[in-house]
Protein backbone atom coordinates (compact mmCIF):
# COMPACT_ATOMS: atom_id res chain seq x y z
CA UNK A 1 0.00 0.00 0.00
CA UNK A 2 2.69 2.47 1.04
CA UNK A 3 4.80 1.46 -1.93
CA UNK A 4 1.85 2.23 -4.21
CA UNK A 5 1.35 5.56 -2.48
CA UNK A 6 4.98 6.48 -2.97
CA UNK A 7 4.90 5.34 -6.58
CA UNK A 8 1.80 7.45 -7.14
CA UNK A 9 3.74 10.44 -5.90
CA UNK A 10 6.49 9.91 -8.44
CA UNK A 11 6.03 12.30 -11.37
CA UNK A 12 7.94 10.00 -13.72
CA UNK A 13 5.73 7.02 -12.89
CA UNK A 14 2.56 9.11 -13.30
CA UNK A 15 3.82 10.49 -16.60
CA UNK A 16 4.14 6.97 -18.03
CA UNK A 17 0.72 5.84 -16.77
CA UNK A 18 -0.94 9.03 -18.09
CA UNK A 19 0.63 8.54 -21.54
CA UNK A 20 -0.90 5.07 -21.73
CA UNK A 21 -4.33 6.15 -20.42
CA UNK A 22 -4.80 9.32 -22.44
CA UNK A 23 -5.84 7.86 -25.84
CA UNK A 24 -8.52 5.73 -24.13
CA UNK A 25 -9.81 8.65 -22.06
CA UNK A 26 -10.04 10.91 -25.12
CA UNK A 27 -11.69 8.34 -27.40
CA UNK A 28 -14.09 7.08 -24.71
CA UNK A 29 -14.92 10.60 -23.57
CA UNK A 30 -15.68 11.94 -27.04
CA UNK A 31 -17.71 8.85 -27.95
CA UNK A 32 -19.88 8.87 -24.80
CA UNK A 33 -20.33 12.64 -24.82
CA UNK A 34 -21.36 12.74 -28.48
CA UNK A 35 -23.69 9.73 -28.01
CA UNK A 36 -25.34 11.40 -25.01
CA UNK A 37 -25.69 14.77 -26.73
CA UNK A 38 -27.03 13.42 -30.05
CA UNK A 39 -29.48 11.16 -28.21
CA UNK A 40 -30.54 13.99 -25.91
CA UNK A 41 -30.93 16.58 -28.66
CA UNK A 42 -32.66 14.56 -31.35
CA UNK A 43 -34.11 11.36 -29.89
CA UNK A 44 -35.11 12.02 -26.27
CA UNK A 45 -38.80 12.90 -25.83
CA UNK A 46 -39.93 16.47 -25.20
CA UNK A 47 -40.53 17.53 -21.60
CA UNK A 48 -44.27 18.00 -21.00
CA UNK A 49 -43.70 21.11 -18.87
CA UNK A 50 -40.57 22.80 -20.23
CA UNK A 51 -40.81 21.78 -23.88
CA UNK A 52 -37.56 21.54 -25.82
CA UNK A 53 -35.60 24.02 -23.69
CA UNK A 54 -34.96 21.19 -21.22
CA UNK A 55 -32.50 19.70 -23.79
CA UNK A 56 -29.92 22.09 -22.31
CA UNK A 57 -29.84 19.65 -19.36
CA UNK A 58 -27.55 17.32 -21.35
CA UNK A 59 -24.69 19.81 -21.00
CA UNK A 60 -25.86 21.80 -17.96
CA UNK A 61 -25.91 18.89 -15.51
CA UNK A 62 -22.57 17.34 -16.67
CA UNK A 63 -20.71 20.69 -16.47
CA UNK A 64 -22.20 21.59 -13.06
CA UNK A 65 -21.66 18.09 -11.66
CA UNK A 66 -18.04 17.81 -12.81
CA UNK A 67 -17.21 21.41 -11.83
CA UNK A 68 -18.16 20.47 -8.25
CA UNK A 69 -16.42 17.10 -8.25
CA UNK A 70 -13.22 18.73 -9.55
CA UNK A 71 -13.32 21.00 -6.51
CA UNK A 72 -13.76 18.01 -4.17
CA UNK A 73 -10.81 16.27 -5.85
CA UNK A 74 -8.78 19.46 -5.46
CA UNK A 75 -9.65 19.52 -1.75
CA UNK A 76 -8.42 15.92 -1.33
CA UNK A 77 -5.24 16.85 -3.21
CA UNK A 78 -4.86 19.92 -0.97
CA UNK A 79 -4.93 17.70 2.14
CA UNK A 80 -2.29 15.44 0.55
CA UNK A 81 -0.17 18.52 -0.27
CA UNK A 82 -0.37 19.85 3.29
CA UNK A 83 0.08 16.54 5.13
CA UNK A 84 2.45 14.53 2.92
CA UNK A 85 3.95 17.34 0.79
CA UNK A 86 3.37 15.19 -2.28
CA UNK A 87 4.42 17.16 -5.36
CA UNK A 88 2.00 15.41 -7.66
CA UNK A 89 -1.00 16.54 -5.56
CA UNK A 90 0.00 20.17 -6.04
CA UNK A 91 0.58 19.55 -9.75
CA UNK A 92 -3.00 18.22 -9.91
CA UNK A 93 -4.51 21.29 -8.23
CA UNK A 94 -2.60 23.65 -10.50
CA UNK A 95 -3.44 21.68 -13.65
CA UNK A 96 -7.18 21.24 -13.13
CA UNK A 97 -8.19 24.59 -11.59
CA UNK A 98 -8.60 26.28 -15.03
CA UNK A 99 -10.70 23.32 -16.23
CA UNK A 100 -12.92 23.73 -13.16
CA UNK A 101 -13.23 27.44 -13.89
CA UNK A 102 -14.35 26.85 -17.48
CA UNK A 103 -16.84 24.13 -16.49
CA UNK A 104 -18.33 26.29 -13.71
CA UNK A 105 -18.69 29.16 -16.17
CA UNK A 106 -20.40 26.80 -18.64
CA UNK A 107 -22.77 25.54 -15.92
CA UNK A 108 -23.70 29.13 -15.02
CA UNK A 109 -24.03 30.21 -18.64
CA UNK A 110 -26.16 27.26 -19.77
CA UNK A 111 -28.24 27.66 -16.59
CA UNK A 112 -28.85 31.32 -17.33
CA UNK A 113 -29.87 30.63 -20.93
CA UNK A 114 -32.12 27.78 -19.76
CA UNK A 115 -33.61 30.04 -17.08
CA UNK A 116 -34.89 32.63 -19.56
CA UNK A 117 -37.56 30.47 -21.29
CA UNK A 118 -38.26 28.43 -18.13
CA UNK A 119 -38.31 30.97 -15.28
CA UNK A 120 -38.58 34.15 -17.35
CA UNK A 121 -35.26 35.52 -16.11
CA UNK A 122 -31.57 35.06 -16.94
CA UNK A 123 -30.39 35.45 -13.39
CA UNK A 124 -31.75 35.57 -9.88
CA UNK A 125 -29.80 35.84 -6.63
CA UNK A 126 -31.06 32.59 -5.22
CA UNK A 127 -29.06 30.10 -3.15
CA UNK A 128 -28.09 27.60 -5.88
CA UNK A 129 -27.07 30.21 -8.44
CA UNK A 130 -25.19 32.38 -5.95
CA UNK A 131 -23.26 29.46 -4.45
CA UNK A 132 -22.28 28.34 -7.97
CA UNK A 133 -21.06 31.90 -8.66
CA UNK A 134 -18.96 31.67 -5.48
CA UNK A 135 -17.47 28.43 -6.84
CA UNK A 136 -16.47 30.34 -9.99
CA UNK A 137 -14.75 32.99 -7.84
CA UNK A 138 -13.03 30.29 -5.78
CA UNK A 139 -11.55 28.75 -8.93
CA UNK A 140 -10.47 32.23 -10.05
CA UNK A 141 -8.94 32.87 -6.61
CA UNK A 142 -7.00 29.60 -6.67
CA UNK A 143 -5.55 30.39 -10.12
CA UNK A 144 -4.72 34.00 -9.17
CA UNK A 145 -3.09 33.03 -5.85
CA UNK A 146 -0.97 30.36 -7.52
CA UNK A 147 0.27 32.85 -10.12
CA UNK A 148 0.90 35.58 -7.54
CA UNK A 149 3.43 33.57 -5.51
CA UNK A 150 6.72 32.82 -7.22
CA UNK A 151 8.08 30.28 -4.77
CA UNK A 152 6.69 26.89 -5.74
CA UNK A 153 6.43 25.48 -2.21
CA UNK A 154 4.75 28.48 -0.59
CA UNK A 155 2.39 28.76 -3.56
CA UNK A 156 1.44 25.09 -3.11
CA UNK A 157 0.73 25.54 0.61
CA UNK A 158 -1.23 28.79 0.23
CA UNK A 159 -3.32 27.38 -2.62
CA UNK A 160 -4.03 24.22 -0.60
CA UNK A 161 -5.29 26.29 2.34
CA UNK A 162 -7.53 28.38 0.07
CA UNK A 163 -8.95 25.25 -1.58
CA UNK A 164 -9.73 23.74 1.84
CA UNK A 165 -11.39 26.91 3.09
CA UNK A 166 -13.54 27.02 -0.05
CA UNK A 167 -14.68 23.42 0.18
CA UNK A 168 -17.39 24.50 2.64
CA UNK A 169 -19.18 25.89 -0.42
CA UNK A 170 -19.71 22.43 -1.95
CA UNK A 171 -22.36 21.12 0.52
CA UNK A 172 -24.00 24.55 0.33
CA UNK A 173 -24.34 24.16 -3.46
CA UNK A 174 -25.59 20.59 -3.10
CA UNK A 175 -28.21 21.20 -0.40
CA UNK A 176 -29.16 24.76 -1.41
CA UNK A 177 -32.19 23.41 -3.29
CA UNK A 178 -33.40 21.69 -0.12
CA UNK A 179 -32.45 24.22 2.56
CA UNK A 180 -33.84 27.32 0.89
CA UNK A 181 -36.73 28.18 -1.37
CA UNK A 182 -35.14 28.45 -4.78
CA UNK A 183 -36.28 28.54 -8.36
CA UNK A 184 -33.83 25.76 -9.18
CA UNK A 185 -35.28 22.28 -9.51
CA UNK A 186 -34.03 19.52 -7.14
CA UNK A 187 -31.20 17.15 -8.08
CA UNK A 188 -31.76 15.09 -11.22
CA UNK A 189 -29.80 12.07 -10.00
CA UNK A 190 -29.80 10.69 -6.49
CA UNK A 191 -27.79 7.64 -5.48
CA UNK A 192 -30.58 6.30 -3.30
CA UNK A 193 -33.54 6.80 -5.60
CA UNK A 194 -34.63 5.84 -9.07
CA UNK A 195 -34.49 8.84 -11.48
CA UNK A 196 -37.85 10.60 -11.75
CA UNK A 197 -37.48 10.97 -15.52
CA UNK A 198 -37.98 8.24 -18.15
CA UNK A 199 -35.00 6.16 -19.30
CA UNK A 200 -35.03 7.93 -22.68
CA UNK A 201 -34.03 11.09 -20.79
CA UNK A 202 -31.75 9.88 -18.00
CA UNK A 203 -29.68 7.40 -20.04
CA UNK A 204 -28.38 10.07 -22.48
CA UNK A 205 -27.80 12.35 -19.50
CA UNK A 206 -25.77 9.65 -17.76
CA UNK A 207 -23.80 9.07 -20.98
CA UNK A 208 -22.91 12.74 -21.29
CA UNK A 209 -21.90 12.94 -17.61
CA UNK A 210 -19.61 9.90 -18.02
CA UNK A 211 -18.27 11.24 -21.34
CA UNK A 212 -17.42 14.63 -19.87
CA UNK A 213 -15.81 12.88 -16.88
CA UNK A 214 -13.52 10.91 -19.19
CA UNK A 215 -12.76 14.04 -21.18
CA UNK A 216 -11.87 15.79 -17.94
CA UNK A 217 -9.59 12.83 -17.15
CA UNK A 218 -7.82 13.35 -20.48
CA UNK A 219 -7.47 17.09 -19.87
CA UNK A 220 -6.19 16.50 -16.34
CA UNK A 221 -3.56 13.99 -17.55
CA UNK A 222 -2.46 16.28 -20.39
CA UNK A 223 -2.20 19.39 -18.23
CA UNK A 224 -0.48 17.51 -15.39
CA UNK A 225 2.06 16.15 -17.87
CA UNK A 226 2.75 19.71 -19.05
CA UNK A 227 3.26 20.88 -15.47
CA UNK A 228 5.51 17.89 -14.68
CA UNK A 229 7.66 18.53 -17.76
CA UNK A 230 8.02 22.18 -16.76
CA UNK A 231 8.91 21.45 -13.14
CA UNK A 232 11.19 18.47 -13.78
CA UNK A 233 13.00 19.87 -16.80
CA UNK A 234 16.37 19.60 -15.01
CA UNK A 235 15.99 15.86 -14.52
CA UNK A 236 17.61 13.28 -16.74
CA UNK A 237 14.38 11.48 -17.69
CA UNK A 238 12.64 14.66 -18.91
CA UNK A 239 15.71 15.51 -20.98
CA UNK A 240 15.72 12.02 -22.49
CA UNK A 241 11.98 12.24 -23.16
CA UNK A 242 12.18 15.67 -24.83
CA UNK A 243 15.27 14.88 -26.91
CA UNK A 244 13.86 11.49 -27.97
CA UNK A 245 10.74 13.19 -29.34
CA UNK A 246 12.84 15.55 -31.49
CA UNK A 247 13.51 13.23 -34.39
Amino acid sequence: MWQFFHKLGSPKWFFGIATRLMPWLLAGGLLLLMAGIVWGLAFAPKDYLQGNSYRIIFIHVPTAFIAQSIYIMMAVAAVVTLVWRMKLADVFVKAVAPVGLVLTFLALFTGAVWGKPTWGTWWIWDARLTSMLILLFLYGGVIALDRAINDEKSAARSVAVLVLVGVVNIPIIKYSVEWWNTLHQPATFKLTEKPSMPADMWVPLLLSVLGLYLLFGWLACLRMQTEILFREQRTRWVKDYVMAGRG
Binding site: N52, S53, T110
Partner: protein, 79 residues
Protein backbone atom coordinates in the same frame (compact mmCIF):
# COMPACT_ATOMS: atom_id res chain seq x y z
CA UNK B 1 -35.80 11.37 -34.28
CA UNK B 2 -38.63 12.96 -32.30
CA UNK B 3 -38.76 15.94 -34.69
CA UNK B 4 -40.69 15.74 -37.95
CA UNK B 5 -38.06 17.51 -40.07
CA UNK B 6 -34.57 18.94 -39.85
CA UNK B 7 -35.91 22.50 -39.73
CA UNK B 8 -38.23 21.54 -36.86
CA UNK B 9 -35.14 20.14 -35.13
CA UNK B 10 -33.36 23.48 -35.56
CA UNK B 11 -36.32 25.62 -34.47
CA UNK B 12 -37.30 23.35 -31.52
CA UNK B 13 -40.70 25.03 -31.25
CA UNK B 14 -39.13 28.41 -30.52
CA UNK B 15 -36.55 27.14 -28.03
CA UNK B 16 -33.90 26.64 -30.74
CA UNK B 17 -31.95 29.88 -30.06
CA UNK B 18 -31.59 29.02 -26.35
CA UNK B 19 -30.62 25.40 -26.92
CA UNK B 20 -28.18 26.09 -29.78
CA UNK B 21 -26.54 29.03 -28.00
CA UNK B 22 -25.77 26.75 -25.05
CA UNK B 23 -24.38 23.96 -27.20
CA UNK B 24 -22.41 26.44 -29.31
CA UNK B 25 -20.72 28.05 -26.31
CA UNK B 26 -20.14 24.62 -24.73
CA UNK B 27 -18.33 23.24 -27.79
CA UNK B 28 -16.45 26.49 -28.40
CA UNK B 29 -15.03 26.60 -24.86
CA UNK B 30 -14.34 22.87 -24.65
CA UNK B 31 -12.49 22.83 -27.97
CA UNK B 32 -10.61 26.03 -27.06
CA UNK B 33 -9.55 24.51 -23.72
CA UNK B 34 -8.42 21.26 -25.36
CA UNK B 35 -6.46 23.04 -28.10
CA UNK B 36 -4.93 25.47 -25.58
CA UNK B 37 -3.84 22.58 -23.33
CA UNK B 38 -2.24 20.67 -26.21
CA UNK B 39 -0.45 23.79 -27.46
CA UNK B 40 0.86 24.63 -24.00
CA UNK B 41 2.31 21.14 -23.70
CA UNK B 42 4.01 21.49 -27.10
CA UNK B 43 5.33 24.93 -26.11
CA UNK B 44 6.82 23.60 -22.85
CA UNK B 45 8.48 20.68 -24.66
CA UNK B 46 9.85 23.09 -27.27
CA UNK B 47 11.24 25.48 -24.66
CA UNK B 48 12.87 22.56 -22.76
CA UNK B 49 14.43 21.31 -26.02
CA UNK B 50 15.83 24.78 -26.82
CA UNK B 51 17.19 25.00 -23.28
CA UNK B 52 19.00 21.67 -23.62
CA UNK B 53 20.38 22.59 -27.05
CA UNK B 54 21.68 25.94 -25.80
CA UNK B 55 23.36 24.31 -22.81
CA UNK B 56 24.99 21.53 -24.86
CA UNK B 57 25.90 24.04 -27.60
CA UNK B 58 27.46 26.28 -24.92
CA UNK B 59 29.54 23.39 -23.64
CA UNK B 60 30.86 22.65 -27.12
CA UNK B 61 31.81 26.31 -27.60
CA UNK B 62 33.53 26.33 -24.24
CA UNK B 63 35.44 23.20 -25.19
CA UNK B 64 36.41 24.79 -28.49
CA UNK B 65 37.68 27.89 -26.70
CA UNK B 66 39.55 25.77 -24.20
CA UNK B 67 41.35 23.83 -26.95
CA UNK B 68 42.08 27.10 -28.76
CA UNK B 69 43.95 28.30 -25.69
CA UNK B 70 46.24 25.28 -25.61
CA UNK B 71 49.98 25.49 -26.17
CA UNK B 72 51.10 26.43 -29.69
CA UNK B 73 54.68 26.65 -30.85
CA UNK B 74 55.75 30.18 -31.75
CA UNK B 75 58.59 30.26 -34.24
CA UNK B 76 60.13 33.55 -33.29
CA UNK B 77 63.86 33.87 -32.98
CA UNK B 78 65.04 34.37 -29.42
CA UNK B 79 68.37 35.86 -30.49
Amino acid sequence: MVFESFSAFLVMEGHGPYVWTCYGVFFLLMIAMMVWSVRRRTAVIESCRRGYEVSTGGNEQQNARASGASFTRVNVSQD
